[in-house]
Amino acid sequence: MSGLKESLQTFHKIASSPKEQLKKYLAEDKKVVICAPVYTPEEIVHAIGMVPMGTWGADIEIKEAKTYFPAFICSVMQSVLELGIRGEFEGASAIIIPSLCDSLKCLGENWKSSVENIPFIPMVYPQNRKADFGKAFTKAGYERVIADLEKATGQSFDDAKLTASIAIYNEHNAIMRQLSDCLNDYPNVTAADRNAIFQSAFYMEKSEHTALVKDLISELTKTEKTANNKIKIVTTGILVDAEDLLKILDENDMQIVADNVASESRQYHVDAKPAETGLDSLSCKFADMDNCSVLFNVDKAIAQYTVDLVSKYQANGVIFVMTKFCDPEEFDYVMIKKACEEKSIPLLLVEIDRQMTNYEQVRTAVETFKEILK
């Protein structure tokens, strides 16, 4: 049991100290590249021999970024910029920012003027991603990222190394999917613990994270399974990392049994399959991605996907965690709501923001939801 506790503590420590992780890698003479959301090609950064470090911003007061963004832009973008301006990424060689939503496009444009010592590398993804012309454009986008990284760091790209990196990332994807399922048998692992495991993956080399997760699964399987009386929840949204929100879920005996959250399982749905080159493999991986609000899908498959998760994991209900001002999610919410209503699946919408300090309204909503689910 102590092994399990220590293992979880490790995840919490890393998840809560990205700056320390950055310093650690820099002290090891490693180059670090900041990867903004979403679907940033970390494999390429890794293949060039650098550490890709994810960022989803932080729960902080926005001050400097306000001179760039109006108040109605998603707080993930605002806080990423705020961290950049405050020097929290000091020492990083570059930042890669994809442009899959309108706010992300603005983050890249604002970054150029506000954080001049960390070069902005854009990754332009296609929405018509499944056709051959879409895959070719994805590949061209990756090639541009490679050229910019080589220029920023003086290091060079090798496709064979990319293939090796892809294998590391595929292994990590698989272990994260396994972990998510495994946790369902262990209700004592809290929502906060679960989030720490997912969040810490952004701040570590994936091979290190895979090893830690494997250890955790090993510790878990050593413990005796206990009766699970928790309320089973599926979460969906962009981000479910707010400490207060997770605490409220835990206090209300809710267990996240599956998620379609952008910063959690959504990024691990698809593996890169073998192809002629590593870059082709990576381009096809993006083409295969789906069930995400920032990826075009005329069938709105995300709605059925949510319903299917509830069915597969026998969940009691869905909590849609809306990151305020995220319009792709706001459009999908309506379709998910309809799909849940058709299947009589209880759904709760909670709105969160990186600058929220008072979660009492969320608490009331979750408590009421709990009563409904009982």
């Binding site: 001179t67 963004f69 604002n110 018509n128 709105k300 319009d327």
Partner: protein
């Protein structure tokens, strides 16, 4: 001081205003007539290449124009409320909320449109467009054809982007041919391209007449005429009407007339989509201070001049909301310098995250390079709840004071 040009009633059928207004109105009438004949009609996003439906002979309507019309006639809040009752956040673009509500209720006193059989979506204006059209397609259970033109973070459009977008143009044509039975012909495309070029040249020439002091037109005219540029550029009627517009502006220059009423004391650039529910308030706030909004980015943005299919593809990659800050800035700087602009008035549009998301920094860079003051006000293109007339007045007053002070006034 310019002489006033009084509005005539009824309008002169030979005037550009009448002709342009008729083109905008006919778009709805023609689409309904096509629908009544049993033809398939589409709803189309504003920056979708009009050359495609035009060459194929397909009638299309523009939900953005409809939403602007509904908002200008006072129906914005009512329709937004219908969408919000269905679960749409009031944070979502008001055009989208109005359009999704209309797709549900199918009838409004402000502006009706025939029901669509297909949707044509292009996201070179914003990615919000994709989400909006996805939901329309799902609700109406009709096909959606998308041309994805990604935001370009570089100054120039890359060969890779042109290849990607061109492939989608060809794919969209193929899909539409299969869906509607209409056929693409090179001859018709050449004709459409010729009209589009004529319309664009006339538009650019007309709007460039703002270089004269006083300007021969009130810049608010551009906000109205822009609809024709976006939606009907490839039509013969549009080319002719824009040529009349240019001729009228030239005549105004010669005679010292202007469609701007009163003395033109100051010349500003307006940034952003109009606040349609408050067109009168925003216009009066300027006019009462002798401020003429002589130019907007529309003046430059919708002049599509190209020589062939590839040129057309590239032109659509270079529309305002698809270009990076530096490119967007330089286009505005060019307009400001060419038209002797003294101040920049920015509409921070609650509906448009992309347009407003890096406008603050762009405004600073423009103001520094052009040595002009800039102010911003909060508003919305269609939801009346997001605009405060008092704030607008205060900001315009502040801008006026700085412009006066720069001129040596008190």
């Amino acid at each position: 001081m310019s002489n006033e040009v009084k509005k005539k009633s009824p309008p002169d059928p030979n005037s550009a205003k009448f002709k342009l207004g008729k083109i905008a109105t006919d778009a709805y009438v023609d689409a309904q007539a096509a629908k009544d004949r049993g033809e398939m009609i589409g709803w189309c996003s504003s920056n979708f290449p009009v050359e495609i439906p035009e060459t194929l002979g397909l009638a299309v309507c523009y939900p953005e124009n409809q939403a602007a019309g509904i908002a200008a006639r006072g129906g914005g809040e009512r329709l937004c409320n219908i969408s919000e009752d269905d679960g749409y956040s009031n944070d979502i673009c008001a055009y989208a909320r109005i359009s999704l509500a209309y797709a549900k209720i199918k009838d409004t006193p402000e502006q009706n449109m025939p029901e669509p059989d297909f949707l044509l979506c292009c996201n070179n204006i914003c990615n919000c467009m994709i989400k909006w059209y996805e939901n329309l397609a799902k609700d109406l259970n009709i096909p959606m054809i998308i041309i994805d033109i990604p935001f370009n973070p570089d100054y120039e459009v890359s060969d890779a982007q042109v290849a990607y977008v061109k492939a989608q143009f060809l794919e969209a044509i193929k899909q539409l041919e299969e869906l509607t039975g209409k056929k693409w012909t090179e001859e018709k495309f050449q004709e459409v391209m010729e009209y589009s070029g004529r319309t664009s040249r006339a538009w650019l020439a007309a709007t460039s007449e703002a270089k004269h002091t006083p300007s021969p037109f009130n810049g608010f005219d551009l906000l109205n005429h822009m609809a024709v540029m976006v939606t009907a550029r490839g039509k013969k009627e549009a080319a002719e009407a824009m040529e009349v517009l240019h001729k009228e502006y030239l005549e105004n220059v010669e005679t010292g007339n202007s469609t701007f009423r009163g003395e033109e004391k100051h010349r500003i650039m307006f940034e952003g989509i109009a606040c349609w529910p408050y067109l009168r308030a925003t216009s009066t706030g300027l006019k009462s201070r002798g401020i003429n909004m002589v130019t907007t980015i529309y003046a430059d943005a919708f002049g599509f001049i190209y020589d062939d299919f590839d040129g057309m593809v590239k032109a659509y990659c270079n529309v305002p909301n698809a270009m990076n800050l530096e490119h967007a800035r330089d286009k505005r700087v060019k307009l400001i310098k060419a038209n002797h602009v003294e101040g920049l008035l920015v509409h921070t549009n609650r509906s448009c995250k992309l347009w407003s998301g890096f406008m603050a920094e762009m405004s600073r860079q423009i103001a520094a390079e052009c040595e002009i003051p800039h102010v911003a006000f909060d508003g919305d293109q269609a939801d009346p709840r997001n605009f405060s007339e008092a704030q607008y007045e205060t900001r315009v007053q502040g801008l006026t004071e700085i412009m006066e002070s720069k001129k040596g006034g008190c």
